[in-house]
């Protein structure tokens, strides 16, 4: 049963990846004109011709695209290229490879998004659980209301307001970047605190926007769990309220929250990308923005591909973990 489930989930992951690669392959070919020349001439126009040896680049790219080959052959070659993790060169910073460019940006995004999601998931789930708990204090409802409103607003809009308040009006936090300019990164406290200092505002915009969403989901789930028989039994047994809340109610309501985490992963990443743009945070989102501004098509393509792939893999890992938390899941057909 577990094997069946794993195979099905693996299939979904492969499908997502195949779709992303195919879209990457097809889009430039569907648009009219020679993709290489179009991209390079756009680049030329915007940078006044200072992009190095253009003719050699056109030649090398045409060969890479293999535009003289039949389409199925091009498609297979494209797959071979992707699977060998060869994403080509950056057009704007020519000798730099797309892979290197992405590798430099990835840790920033992972750190920011991972921390922000962890904090908001924990805080939001707890808040939502308490909201549904009949014995929770009344002021909690008033406390939670602003978060519910914020959950409707896109992260990066909150980011703009936080940037204005935290870095311009009150000059507490830096206005951009991921790291103090004057420092060289070392494994010491100054480095770590510098990174955290720069990450506070971007992370806060994601956390503020997410807490409400997690709380709403958890509240709904806990209300239905509280109506179940095992809660009545636990109360009849005379267990402490705290124990009933944490081990009988919250624990059972947690799984749908984790499912929701997997489903909203794409949404989270899309949101975080834009937050990075607002704060010039040196992650994948800001790199994507720069690449779009400088018409660096291969970097854009590479980032999109890596983002889709990493989300597909993360989903798969989460899917593998569910049955360990709730064995019922492998039995469910739908």
């Amino acid at each position: 049963m577990y094997l069946d489930y794993v195979i099905r989930r693996f299939g979904i992951m492969v499908l997502i990846f195949a779709l992303a690669v195919t879209i990457n392959f097809a889009l430039p070919r569907l648009s009219p004109g020679d993709p290489v020349e179009q991209q390079l001439s756009q680049l030329m126009a915007s940078s006044g011709g200072q992009v190095g040896d253009v003719r050699a680049m056109v030649e090398s790219y045409r060969q890479r695209f293999g535009l003289d080959q039949p389409v199925w052959r091009q498609y297979l070659d494209y797959w071979a290229m992707v699977l060998s993790l060869d994403l080509g060169f950056s057009l704007a910073n020519y000798p730099e490879r797309v892979g290197e460019s992405i590798a430099g940006a990835m840790p920033w995004t992972l750190g920011l998004l991972g921390m922000a999601t962890l904090i908001s998931f924990a805080a939001g789930t707890l808040l939502g659980g308490l909201l549904a708990w009949p014995r929770a204090p009344r002021w909690l409802g008033w406390f939670a209301a602003p978060f519910m409103v914020l959950s409707a607003i896109p992260y990066f809009l909150i980011g703009v307001i936080l940037l204005f308040l935290g870095a311009i009006v009150y000059r507490i936090f830096p206005a951009g970047g991921g790291f103090p300019f004057e420092l060289t990164p070392r494994a010491d406290w100054a480095t770590v605190s510098g990174i955290l200092w720069h990450a506070t505002l971007p992370a806060l915009s994601i956390v503020l926007a997410q807490i409400g969403a997690w709380a709403i989901g958890m509240r709904g789930m806990l209300v239905s769990v509280l109506g179940e028989d095992h809660i009545v039994l636990a109360e009849a047994k005379g267990l402490t309220q705290r124990r009933i809340f944490l081990w009988y109610a919250v624990r059972n309501a947690l799984l749908p929250q984790l499912t929701k985490l997997a489903l909203t992963l794409g949404h989270l990443v899309s949101g975080a990308i834009l937050v990075e743009v607002i704060f010039s945070y040196p992650g994948m989102g800001y790199r994507l923005y720069q690449a779009i501004q400088s018409k660096d098509y291969f970097v854009v393509q590479g980032i999109v591909l890596i983002l889709s792939l990493s989300i597909a893999v993360t989903m798969f890992i989460l899917d593998l973990l569910y049955p360990l938390i709730d064995p019922r899941i492998t039995n469910r057909r739908n």
Partner: protein, 281 residues
Amino acid sequence: MGPALARLFRGNPALVAGATILGALALAALLGPLLVDPVAAQVGSVPPRRPPSAAHWLGTDAQGRDVLTVMALATPQTLKIGLVAGLISLTVGVTLGLVAGFLGGLVDTVVRTASDVMMTIPGVAILVLVAANVRSMTVDLMAVIVAGLSWMVAARAIRAQTLSVRERGYVQVARLNGLGGLRLVFVEVLPNLLPYIAASFVIAVGQAMLATIGLEALGLGPQTELTLGMTIFWAQFYGAVIRGMWWWWGPPILALALIFVGLLLTSAGLDRVSNKRLGGP
């Protein structure tokens, strides 16, 4: 119609608040363009970088545009993208959901897998690729592109409800009476899904607008047209936040925040209506 409408809103403060906010915004979007002089939204038509004053109620931006005029012209455009994209994705989603839920089998598997896969891929990432390959972006094209990535929520919701409605007594009776195929779907099933379709529409509009302003913030929006997202993009592009020009980026953010809060409240309110009608949890 009147009493039915009153019943819909009574005891549902979320729906009342949501509909009020969205209604006020729609009214402003309809009347706004009639009350302002569009010349003041052109680059260089007014002195640049002025804070709010009697002459320019919301100040002017770095390119010499009157922010109030820009807002009046941009709000309808943004709402238009949301509505058009929402309608397209609703049509696609409802059709796929109905077909999948009603026919079941292979069709169902294909639709379900497709919507699962599409939901996983970060929408903005795919949109970035599409938009980067389009020569010149317009408001209408934007709506179509965005719709392609927001049909999944409607498809999933309608499919799930179709599955449950399909087994109800009255549908079974209609089937036994010899009603079959399309007529059965459109006469017996579809009307009973209306509350869900309404809720899906609100969600689809919200998702479409989210994707739209995301693309615009990355600089892939309609560069020559005025929308709320493009206004924020230009403000960000010219460093309005760092330069303390709050009157430039503040109004579009406030307008967008109101739109999104209005959509959230409306969808929460509609949720209550449909749960009451169909006896859900």
